[in-house]
Amino acid sequence: MSKIAGRFQQLAAQGRKALVPYIVAGDPNLASTVPLMHALVAAGADIIELGVPFSDPMSEGPVIQKAHERALASGARLRDALAMVATFREQDSETPVLLMGYANPVEHMGYARFADQAAAVGLDGLLTVDIPPEEVAGVNAELHRVGMDNIFLIAPTTPKARIESIVNQASGFIYYVALKGVTGAGNLDAEDVARHLAHIREATTLPLAVGFGIKDAESARRVGATADGVVVGSALVDVIAQAAAGGASQEDLLRVAAELVASIRSGLDSIAS
């Protein structure tokens, strides 16, 4: 069993929901990322999703777009994100880590080389926003060779037949995109999410994590009531950005990030199992 699948199983046994925070590797600077990852875990994160900076992040709203721009300006690239995972693993061998990003940096590195390096640094999964099931055969073969999970998106617009073909190629968990839009949009509808999750559960027993639009303890609690986990991206990236823009010390960056994650943790833990 992969580390990601194991983590979801362990949480389910405890009647708890997975909290998956997202930050961009190298935002606001190269030195802050690994300490942030540890701080997020200490504050209650179960899985870390590390964004790979890309020049053209087509699915991101303004908050995460700017994070990609800051990260690129600080010099962070795919190989730096992999190096950060290696450094993180020096102190934390348990918390699953996945990279989230776009096809081109991975394609340019080469699928086989990426898989080898990812396995060597202790990465657990990959989520590429713009590689749908139709295009995934090449990268999946390499990820499976090294026992790594490939995390797929399912959207509100995904028809039933596609849901079946997606879950057949997925492992680890399914990432349900809670709304039609880019990251950080504000029109989350928990009841609509619940209906879609019920449909997806007819096709798979994989854990379902929900992202896009979850920004605080309350929205996490509402979505977490029917999901197996929640992903928090823009809200977290935003508090980090605001602190950095205000000239915060690294200590303060870690503190504001940890406070938000701890608050969302308490929202999730308030769900009666």
């Binding site: 020049s55 053209d56 087509m58 991101e60 394609e107 926003v129 713009d130 617009t157 995904t158 995109v177």
Partner: protein, 406 residues
């Protein structure tokens, strides 16, 4: 790689997955996948529907003003020497460029899908104007995304779009040019996919766009082929067209692909020269990768980040290229070459002075290369150059370079 023309491979692409060899495909977020499937299914149905064809042909004849002339540029040919040069006058279309051939077609698709809103990306503004134009005629709400840098460079077209009732959205992310406008249009589409049709302006993007934009632009080559036979009694020896995303080039080339005797040259923007690194020539100097929904040649760095491009012409200032061009390069059917900023500007002035035709700076790249090519050929030979657009929109750019101040 050699090309076996007997197998008619050119009619076989794209395949069912939208691939041209290893290029093309559908690399987009899951939210858009069903909208792309829906568009493809509708397009495949309508493409064989005589009523849809009739509607399209009528628009092309009476609204766009087709067929566009094939004009022999005798004075300019004499000046450059060698082969006879004929210009396919897409600059004479309604709105002043080839872009409208495609927007008329896609707007008909939007109408058939019952969408009330269209969006578009634009670089030089020609595709934005062509989209705003057809939206005005059909009563559709229209949003055009345009890089902030291009909004500045192409103020005239921005105002034209506003006059036509469109909302122009300046894009301030990334390099603030065409590629960022396309990112922003994708973000809008993913948010408003239920009621919005995305009219992509070139033969790039996810399948089925490279196929359907090509099909709508092929009217250029079909006309040019018939006109060449009628006016010169033979097929041309060479075709020359500029390549940014590559829609005017594919439109001219595609109907000739199986004519073995016809050589083809796609002219990319050489900017300050390919050696300078400041250019927009992915087929000449790039490597394959994935951007904006398809696999194709890209200008990218050693980490797979998309590079900034440079061209004097906003319409060619794009780091990718349509996937069919990538395939045509690899199979060796089309030669991809470059003309730099200075050569394009010289051709702009030359054609204006000798023929009284002011070309768009994009088209001036094709003219610049055609001039070089003609000089190596004989007076019995002919070249067709796609004069893809008119140059009025570029007057400010040219005046700036010439040190004019209005």
């Amino acid at each position: 790689m050699t090309t076996d023309l007997s197998t008619k491979i050119f009619a076989s692409v794209p395949d069912a997955e939208g691939r041209f060899g290893v290029y093309g495909g559908k690399f987009v977020a899951e939210t858009l996948m069903s909208a792309l499937s829906e568009l493809e299914a509708l397009y495949r149905k309508l493409a064989d529907d005589p009523e849809f064809q009739r509607e399209l042909d009528e628009d092309l004849a009476h609204y766009v003003g087709r067929p566009s002339p094939l004009y022999e540029a005798r004075r300019w040919s004499d000046r450059v020497g060698g082969a006879r040069i004929l210009l396919k006058r897409e600059d004479l279309n309604h709105t002043g460029a080839h872009k409208v051939n495609n927007t008329v077609g896609q707007a008909l698709l939007a109408k058939h899908m019952g969408k009330r809103r269209v969006i578009a990306e634009t670089g030089a503004g020609q595709h934005g104007v062509a989209t705003a134009t057809i939206a005005a005629r059909l009563g559709l709400e229209c949003h055009v995304f345009m890089g902030e840098e291009d909004v500045r460079r192409q103020a005239l077209n921005v105002y034209r779009m506003k006059l036509l009732g469109a909302t122009v959205v300046p894009v301030t992310s990334g390099s603030r040019t065409l590629k960022d406008a396309m990112n922003e249009a994708m973000r809008d589409w993913v948010t408003n996919v239920d009621d919005t049709f995305y009219i992509i302006g070139t033969v790039a993007g996810p399948h089925p766009y490279p196929m359907l934009v090509r099909d709508f632009q092929c009217v250029i080559g079909r006309e040019a082929r018939a006109q060449s036979l009628a006016q010169t009694g033979r097929l041309p020896d060479a075709l020359v067209a500029c390549v940014g995303g590559g829609s005017n080039a594919i439109g001219l080339f595609h109907p000739f692909l199986e004519d073995e005797s016809v050589a083809m040259y796609g002219v990319e923007a050489g900017g300050h020269g390919v050696a300078s690194g400041e250019h927009a020539a992915p087929l000449t100097a790039g490597t394959p990768g994935v951007l904006h929904g398809n696999r194709t040649y890209l200008m990218q760095d050693e980490d797979g980040q998309i590079m900034h491009t440079h061209s004097v012409s906003a319409g060619l200032d794009y780091p990718g290229v349509g996937p069919e061009h990538s395939w045509l390069k690899d199979v060796g059917r089309v030669n991809y070459v470059t003309a730099d900023d200075a050569e394009a500007l010289a051709a702009f002035h030359d054609l204006t002075r000798t023929e009284g035709i002011m070309p768009a700076l994009e088209s001036a790249h094709a003219l610049a290369y055609a001039g070089r090519l003609a000089a190596t050929m004989t007076p019995e030979q002919t070249i067709i150059v796609n004069l893809s657009g008119r140059g009025d929109k570029d007057i400010h750019t040219v005046a700036d370079i010439d040190g004019m101040d209005f």
